[in-house]
Symmetry: C2
Subunit: 306 residues, 2 copies
């Protein structure tokens, strides 16, 4: 089983409007809701790849109930921990004509220390049966900034490979606890290291504690800096579409490849192919299976000199 952790789950709401005009009134033409938060997205892709997946994190309030009801219809197993506060909503306002979206993200519920303790107990129990764990996304208000560091240490003690995908101070603190893998994008990596030169920044991130760093560089694909070497993997040509969820699909590719014992070129190929197939899918966060299968054969992986 692969475990994904989403401490700040979200009810993702999409509103279709003809075009968003500031300070005007809009009649929403279509409303769709889906369970959201990076770890939940990763789990859906993992499940689509045939992996048994379990999701945990926090859920609460009326929006949390809706999230759980929607999740019940999907493959990942719901092991979310109930809290008093309400799960945040995110609203994506999609212009019907262009497909451009305007994003409004609520901050998330305040999590109490009692609720955090309850989570740590549940997490420990779930690690027992896990082949790998992904820690994904932002921290909700109220959690200690070192929350991810604590979860990384607990996974390492349980000998479960742990991937951390977050940003800012949560990443800085989490990386120091020596996760097996971090997957920052170019901005997150620059914020962490102060360098916009990917190779230099990835090496710096390794020195800060990450065993392996896989940086997602948009159209240029992925750059992996591991103890075994340096690789770059990219799609044969730039893909155009909706990049929402592409990073989460890359995480699912890396994690499934790890569990299946693929080597680094194999993992990176899968991650890039999934990522590109997500950009190409019409629905945000879904991946196009046919494009994925086709892309697997055409991703270019090159090894860098050390």
């Amino acid at each position: 089983m692969i475990l994904t952790v989403t401490l700040n789950t979200a009810l993702d709401i999409t509103y279709r409007v003809p075009a968003l005009v500031p300070h005007a009134s809009h009649r929403v033409e279509e409303v769709t809701e889906r369970p959201g938060g990076k770890g939940l997205n990763v789990a859906r892709v993992l499940a689509a790849l045939g992996h048994e997946t379990v999701v945990t994190g926090f859920v609460g309030g009326p929006s949390g109930e809706v999230l759980r009801a929607l999740l019940a219809g999907l493959a990942p197993v719901d092991e979310l921990v109930p809290i008093r506060g309400a799960t945040r909503r995110t609203i994506a306002v999609a212009d019907a004509a262009t497909g451009d979206t305007t994003q409004l993200n609520e901050p998330g519920p305040v999590v109490s220390s009692t609720e955090w303790d309850a989570f740590l107990t549940a997490y420990g129990r779930l690690l027992d049966g896990a082949e790998a764990v992904a820690l994904c996304g932002s921290l909700p208000p109220g959690l200690p900034v070192g929350a991810y560091a604590q979860l990384v240490r607990q996974a390492r003690t349980a000998k479960v490979p742990v991937l951390l995908d977050t940003s800012g101070e949560a990443l800085r603190r989490g990386i120091a606890a020596r996760p097996d893998l971090v997957k920052p994008n170019a901005d997150e990596l620059a914020q962490l290291t102060g360098s916009r030169e990917p190779l230099r920044a990835a090496r710096d991130a390794r020195r800060r504690g990450a065993h392996t760093v896989v940086a997602s560089l948009g159209a240029e694909g992925l750059l992996a800096a591991s103890p075994d070497g340096l690789w770059q993997a990219a799609p044969p040509a730039a893909v155009r579409g909706n990049p929402t969820g592409a990073g989460d699909s890359a995480v699912a590719g890396l994690l499934s490849g790890l569990v299946e014992g693929l080597d680094w070129p194999g993992r990176l190929t899968r991650a890039v192919a999934l990522s590109a197939a997500t950009v190409l899918a019409p629905a945000a966060g879904e991946f196009d299976r046919e494009a994925y299968a086709k892309m697997l054969g055409s991703v270019r992986v090159s090894e860098h000199a050390h």
Copy 2:
């Protein structure tokens, strides 16, 4: 008791953001929720004026549960009828700097014919104890376009004075059932009658079936065309602020004045004062009690020649 009907109730959500930028991502700084829909707003103002008020209409789904929980803390009595569909949400995105808002309104739940029948039974029972009834706002999907006409006829049969505040085809059909009072704004009146000349349009609306027409003309106040005469009432000077809810406050003023037996100049004075005090209040839809008391003494009412 005064009854207000809101067939398309709403959970009104306000998001404060620094400034709304199309196609950008925004972290919402503050989230507030309140029970919404015109009839609920009218009932709150009526209750603040000391009137026993009952609200009915439809409520359902997770957003409906939140609405009912919030309503439980307020004065109006909740006699909403449960439905299978979910109460719509409205999102007001307020720019922190300027206070300008961008409005996103969900269309509302589909109401089945069985649910409509259940409402008609409940409505009949509530009319028994009502001194007056206000029918407010848009129709949710699934209801017959003649729904308001049916409710107007039922009120007239029960000899309960009935005010209709809606727009478009629902107004056109409702007005033909001869309500005691309609309160269109200038746009709604022009849409109904084809005329932008308020006096001519109000007279036309009376010919279409309304016993009395009170048109709200923004800064110019209210114009009443009744069997007893024609009046115009306006604040002493234009008021600046947030006009959200000003029309609903005017309805509450007219309805409370009717129940208390005020004459037309008295009712119009109250409606204009409440409306202006709503524009002046810092929170959308609330009215400033001090401004209201002061304004009551300074509203100018003039009688037109027939």
